[in-house]
């Protein structure tokens, strides 16, 4: 019976598909690891040896695999969130994905690693797109190095994913989101701040990012947006959440992803992610390939405005 309760989770279609897909992607990544390492140490486009030409051909395979796996990983992220939601209907006590993710010690770490992979994967795609537009393969070694970092996270993430799903059971009761995100903990807020200060920090850092993007100050934009990402997470849960749910005691980042709330969570977290991603992008590009792109400052501001508008809409109009 106990074993069945674990098997029910592992073989539920969504979990099965997720684990299978991630396994296939990891396998593909392993298959190109050697090529990537060869590129980092032996890539010299000015050599006309047959090894050099073969490596060039193999580099296309490696980049193809990395591109494919990164794109699929991006698609699998919302699918992972959806899987958590469907599992909440068979795990006792869970009302949404929050209960499932907190069911064991691996859940939150898994979510963090998946989010980091989103960022790193996006950076790799941008560098790759810039590289293929060049006359010469300037960024081949740089993007291979970025990939190695990404690969490390892929491995850790997969390990956590397996641990997470193998430690979920339909026989154990989990805590629901109202307990997890209870406001009895204002010590739930970081640095012991209160809601007022949280909001001040939220809007202040948003304005700072906006200004830094206009002035194209990528360093300020980078550090500020990382801070903003952290603060915004708490602001959405503890301040904006109750307005979205129309219930002062409801603080859950997962419930707003459900149909009942018109999937608004995807727009909120999606715009937040994109705003921060484009804000940090120019800094990363500058240190890896010594380049900055004006368009990304603009995109960061667009998504930042969308994020602020959606979250603030619920305060003023809902």
């Amino acid at each position: 019976m106990m074993v069945n309760s674990y098997i029910n989770i592992l073989l539920s279609p969504n979990t099965f598909i997720l684990l299978l897909s991630d396994f296939i992607l990891l396998f593909l990544q392993f298959s190109v690891l050697y090529i990537v390492i060869q590129i980092i140490f032996k890539w010299n486009f000015n050599l006309h040896t047959s090894f050099s030409y073969k490596l060039e051909n193999r580099s296309y395979f490696a980049m193809l695999i990395i591109y494919f796996t990164t794109i699929i990983k991006l698609l699998l992220y919302p699918y992972f969130i959806y899987t958590l939601d469907t599992l909440s209907s068979i795990i006792p006590g869970a009302m949404c994905g929050a209960g499932v993710i907190s069911a064991n010690i691996y859940g939150e770490k898994l979510l963090i690693f998946k989010t980091i992979i989103l960022f790193l994967g996006g950076i790799w795609i941008v560098v790759n797109n810039l590289d293929i537009k060049q006359k010469h393969t300037y960024f081949m070694i740089n993007k291979s190095k970025i990939y190695l970092v990404l690969f490390f996270f892929y491995i850790v993430e997969f390990m956590y994913e397996v641990l997470f799903f193998t430690h979920l059971s339909t026989a154990s009761i989990v805590t629901c989101c109202s307990a997890i995100y209870s406001t009895n903990a204002t010590n739930a807020l970081p640095f012991g701040i209160n809601l007022k200060i949280l909001l001040i920090l939220f809007y202040f850092s948003a304005i700072l990012i906006f200004w830094a993007n206009i002035k194209q100050k990528y360093k300020i934009s980078f550090f500020c947006s990382l801070f903003f990402f952290y603060i915004a997470y708490y602001a959405v849960i503890y301040f904006f959440g109750p307005y979205i749910y129309d219930l002062p005691t409801h603080h859950c980042p997962f419930c707003m992803l459900q149909k009942d709330y018109y999937f608004i969570g995807y727009f909120i977290f999606g715009s937040l992610f994109l705003a921060v991603f484009y804000a940090i992008l120019n800094f990363i590009l500058n240190i890896t390939i010594d380049k900055t792109i004006k368009k990304y400052y603009f995109l960061s501001n667009i998504f930042l405005v969308i994020f602020i508008l959606i979250t603030s809409f619920y305060i003023f109009f809902h």
């Binding site: 592992l10 539920s12 099965f16």
Partner: protein, 393 residues
């Protein structure tokens, strides 16, 4: 490359080389058809069950003795009603009647037609019958599975029950249930509570269990805790518990099917890989010509991958549509038995069209990721064909 022109070119080449892709297309369609049919049945069944469960009472209380469920005192209802928040209670009398010669069970539900019902389907049912006529004679209402069984064994409009006290209780068929609740109700018989007590040997002051209606569902946990604290010899089952039970049941069946399906899917993948790895010289020359015309390795990769995605995606669309037709129009012959073989009697199940886009997306992911993954290496091998291959005569 201009996307429209590229797609036009790709469609032209697929059309001209359709024989090459036909077997791939057909096998993919069949595999997707099987998987989608299964998913549609699961989703439709879950939806049906959910509707049924919504009609269930908020809480069911059963008496436990020595680890077994026994009949519960009817009088305890008053104590439950005294708990703040409990709106209504019902003494439920039900059980199974075993007909040994055919090794079949009937589910019997006894209804007190004069008390307030807390199950919507019972309320609905009572509204459709002429109570005076129904209670004037020993009548029963049967599910479609029961009706078929009785017809098969030549019981013309009645059946004689033989309870454990060795008496005979003859009941006549008043009518048959509506089709839309067939998954659980087709082997059920509804009758007056007094007949049910006699047939199932349940004493007059006893019930099979007691159902409670709770006014405010957010208070359910509190009420549950109150009952548990005082009546620790009772088993309490909420709507959510029933829902989870059925979800787990379908999850289990899905998992089993998935595993078996996956094995055949792997076989297909390996065949696909084999087929793609055999690059003939004609194909090599074609790619070499593309390279000379100014197509880069990346362009060739794009061409080949998009070609495959189009073929697989078309197979996906066709497979899903065929599955929809098979399940919701033809009513899933054969697959019905695989799923609902656990039911006692033959069923006349009619699936209500249910399309969960996220389930369909799941099928899409399950199918497309391994397929594209397996063809990437052979496609790359083709794409790096040296342009000088075109110069070989």
């Amino acid at each position: 490359m201009n996307i429209k022109v590229l797609f036009y070119f790709i469609f032209v080449t697929i059309k001209k080389e359709r024989s090459k892709y036909l077997s791939l297309f057909l096998i993919s369609t069949i595999l997707i058809f099987i998987l989608s049919s299964f998913m549609f049945v699961v989703d439709a069944s879950k939806k049906d069950i959910n509707i049924l469960i919504q009609n269930q009472p908020s809480l069911i209380v059963k008496q436990i003795k020595s680890g077994k469920v026994i009949d519960i005192d009817e009088d305890i209802q008053d104590q439950f009603l005294s708990i703040h928040g409990v709106l209504n209670s019902n003494c439920r009398v039900y059980g199974r009647y075993y007909y040994e010669p055919a090794e079949e069970y009937f589910n019997i539900i006894g209804v007190d037609f004069f008390s307030k019902q807390n199950q919507k389907y019972l309320k609905k049912l009572i509204n459709t019958i002429d109570l005076d006529k129904f209670l004037a004679k020993p009548y029963m209402i049967v599910g479609s599975g029961v009706k078929k069984f009785l017809d098969y064994y030549q019981y013309k409009g009645y059946y004689s029950f033989r309870p454990s006290n060795r008496s005979i209780i003859k009941l006549y068929i008043y009518s048959t249930f509506q089709k839309d609740l067939n998954i659980v109700s087709s082997d059920t018989i509804i009758m007056d509570i007094s007949y049910a007590r006699q047939i199932l040997d349940i004493k007059n002051n006893k019930c099979s269990d007691i159902s409670l209606d709770i006014e405010n569902l957010t208070e359910q946990t509190t009420i549950l805790d109150k009952i548990k604290a005082k009546y620790w010899d009772m088993l309490l089952i909420s709507k959510q518990d029933i829902s989870k039970y059925y979800t787990n049941f379908f999850s289990y069946k899905s998992s089993l099917f998935f595993l078996l399906y996956f094995l055949s899917f792997i076989t297909f993948i390996l065949i696909l890989y084999q087929r793609y790895s055999l690059i003939n010289s004609m194909e090599k020359k074609q790619i070499a010509i593309f390279r000379i015309l100014g197509w880069s390795i990346l362009d060739i990769l794009k061409l080949k991958i998009i070609e495959n995605i189009i073929v697989f995606f078309s197979a996906f669309i066709l497979g899903v549509n065929l599955a929809y037709f098979y399940i919701f129009v033809l009513n899933a012959p054969i697959l019905q038995n695989i799923f609902f073989g656990f039911l006692n009697l033959s069923t006349d199940i009619h699936f209500v069209p249910t399309v969960d886009m996220l389930s369909i997306f799941s099928i899409f992911l399950f199918f497309i990721i391994p397929l594209i993954s397996i063809v990437l290496y052979p496609i790359w091998k083709i794409a790096i064909t040296s342009p000088t291959e075109a110069l070989k005569y």
